[in-house]
């Protein structure tokens, strides 16, 4: 029992909301109810939920195309999220952004980028605004292992440490960048070794260990809020499916697939909940509650209208462009 029981329950609830939501979206795609590009985060539900559980609602989040779990764990309402994924005008972004570009300032989700590495410099700017204003906010930016080889990562890390910005570089190391395994895109054995290149604090953790994951996340948040500067947090996890929904992943070795199955965070977390004396009934009730929410969100998305062509003239500039 290394973490607070209520906090663990919070993490479990966020995790299951991510998990049930992913299942729902995938079933909609499978059933032809949806036909969109979707990057499933299966296997990464817990790392993100534990991270977000350490944040305040007002804290900022910058994530990627594979960030639906980050957004859900941060609190984006499922109905608005599903509507956006479905390209409906009731979605967070009126259907203009889609799954790859969710934005929802009310819950602190400021940018979801489709360009690898580009979220990191932007996160610095949000953190810089907080530093100048003294508003106490912390910014978290999520990215993958593959993103650590692109220039933007390097420039952002160096600047964040130089300015001691209240930002957390949250690398969800799922061992693959598209079809490329970690060992085939860099010659170091973990991302966290790069923190030293900037004089930054770096922490590596088994992201599927809820207690450990939450603990290091909370420490990083506390440091940032206390003005002690940024942290590079490497959470080890697995991308349990292809790069995007439906993508082949035959390039993954049998060994890797087997190891991955062992490491599924969901059964492991469920077991931990029981160790913490939560009952099967309690846990099932939470999932049932989430499922009704998920179903309602699907209904909302399905019933909503598509945006009209006039939306092409809106939001290009502040003033609508004349027809």
């Amino acid at each position: 029992m290394t973490i607070d029981r209520e906090k663990l329950l919070d993490i479990y609830t966020r995790t299951m909301r991510c998990a049930r939501s992913d299942e729902k979206i995938r079933s909609m795609l499978m059933g032809g109810k949806l036909a969109v590009l979707y990057y499933t985060y299966r296997g990464q539900e817990l790392v993100s939920s534990a991270m977000m559980a350490a944040l305040e609602p007002s804290d900022y989040l910058v994530t990627t195309y594979r960030g639906q779990h980050d957004q859900i764990a941060k609190g984006v309402p499922l109905d608005l999220l599903y509507a956006e994924i479905a390209g409906k005008v009731t979605g967070t972004c009126k259907g203009k952004g889609g799954s790859m570009h969710i934005t929802h300032p009310e819950t602190g989700v400021m940018v979801t980028t489709g360009v690898v590495g580009s979220g990191l410099p932007i996160a610095n700017g949000l953190a810089l605004a907080s530093q100048n204003r003294g508003d106490g906010r912390v910014t978290v930016t999520c990215f993958g292992d593959g993103a650590t080889n692109i220039g933007a990562f390097h420039e952002a890390m160096n600047m964040a440490q130089l300015y001691k910005l209240p930002v957390i570089f949250f690398c969800q190391n799922n061992r693959y960048g598209e079809h490329t395994a970690f060992a085939d895109h860099t010659n170091v054995d973990s991302v966290v070794t790069r923190a030293a290149a900037y004089g930054m604090k770096g922490v590596k953790v088994d992201g599927n260990d809820a207690e450990a994951m939450y603990t290091v996340a909370q420490e990083a948040v506390d440091r940032a809020r206390a003005g002690e500067g940024p942290t590079l947090l490497e959470a080890m996890c697995y991308r349990m499916m292809g790069h995007f929904f439906g993508a082949d992943f035959s390039y993954m070795s049998k060994e890797h697939l087997a190891e991955m199955a062992e490491e599924d965070p969901l059964p492991r977390l469920r077991k931990l909940m029981l160790d913490y004396q939560f009952t099967e009934a309690e846990l099932d009730a939470i999932v049932a509650q989430i499922d009704s929410e998920v179903d309602a969100a699907e209904q909302f998305a399905t019933d909503s209208a598509f945006p009209g062509p006039e939306e092409l003239r809106r939001d290009v500039f502040e003033a609508e462009i004349a027809a």
Partner: protein
């Protein structure tokens, strides 16, 4: 080699044959090698097995390093091909392309040159949204030293790729994702399409549609429909977007007296502006109607399918533009 072939297969064949002929031809890009599946779009499938991992290199996600390495290898006399997964990602490699690849021959007074092909894919209508669909050819057309090509059919894809690889200067090779699956007659290995030469995709006498890439197919379809109304449309497939085949274009419009310039890229400040400006100047007084331009809407590419479809130049818009030139009264 007869029978049908897809554009992906044609590109693969062109690269394969070039690699077989010249050890200097190498391929760098994300996931291009066999271990990673031979490229996300499979254009490099089978090449690692034949030519080895030193000539088909999967790279980290580092576009500046990819293009830069290709510039360096080209300076050393190799003929590298860089695969940049999507055109929007060229935005992280612009310095290498514009300040280096395009200029090194000039800045070195001709002592060095950069025989480099940058392959990239894009296209609107795929459902990839605002950061994965842009057509940025106009940027590169504005940069002296670069040649920009794009095929609209498998035979041209094969012939243009061979010419691009053989070119002693940098070539930006744009592949439209929606054209990958197109099938067409398989040309012989000897087939070449010269850079800088446009094709008359369809002959006509009333109006000329000048376009390239996927919209060539739209233009041909529209031309077919208008033929039923006795409107004879000539369709020019530029193939080399820039520097373009001005001779062929000007001659055609001089003949028809009317022109519609069409591309998928945003209309404003697109390549169509240059073509329209040149035609309007060169054929001043000869044109029977103002040159019409059609292009993408003035916004980022939206994700919602209905909006994305509204963003793309429609066949009706093409048809209306042709009719507008023909019905023109001052």
């Amino acid at each position: 080699m007869t029978g049908k072939i897809t554009m992906v297969a044609a590109l693969n064949r062109a690269i394969d044959e070039a690699m077989a002929e010249d050890e200097g031809v190498i391929l760098l890009g994300e996931d291009v090698a066999a271990k990673q599946g031979g490229g996300v779009f499979k254009v490099s499938a089978g090449l690692t097995e034949k030519y080895g991992e030193h000539r088909v290199r999967s790279t980290p996600i580092s576009e500046q390093a990819i293009v830069g390495a290709c510039v360096g290898a080209a300076l050393a006399g190799m003929r590298p091909i860089a695969e940049i997964m999507l055109m929007n990602f060229l935005t992280v490699a612009m310095d290498q392309i514009v300040n280096h690849a395009a200029k090194l021959r000039f800045m070195s007074g001709g002592q060095t040159n950069v025989p480099l092909v940058i392959r990239t894919t894009t296209g609107v209508g795929v459902g990839f949204g605002g950061q994965h669909s842009d057509m940025l050819e106009a940027w590169f057309a504005h940069v002296p030293g670069l040649t920009i090509v794009t095929p609209s059919n498998p035979a041209d894809a094969q012939g243009l790729m061979r010419s691009a690889i053989a070119c002693n200067d940098p070539v930006i090779f744009i592949e439209n994702i929606l054209c990958y699956g197109i099938t067409g007659d398989a040309p012989s290995p000897a087939h070449r399409v010269p850079l800088g030469k446009a094709a008359i995709a369809r002959e006509g006498s009333d109006c000329t549609i000048i376009t390239y890439g996927r919209t060539v197919l739209d233009a041909l379809e529209v031309a077919g429909q208008l033929a039923d109304d006795d409107i004879s449309v000539e369709v020019i497939d530029l193939r080399t977007i820039a520097p373009y085949d001005e001779e062929t274009v000007t001659a055609s419009v001089r003949k028809t007296g009317r022109a519609v310039v069409l591309h998928e890229a945003v209309k404003s400040y697109g390549t169509g502006a240059e073509i329209a400006a040149r035609l309007s100047e060169k054929l001043f007084g000869e044109l029977k109607a103002p040159v019409q331009r059609i292009g993408g809407a003035f916004s980022a590419v939206p994700m919602a399918n209905v909006l994305e479809q509204a963003w793309i130049p429609s066949k009706d818009a093409i048809k209306d533009a042709v009719r507008a030139t023909i019905g023109w009264k001052n």
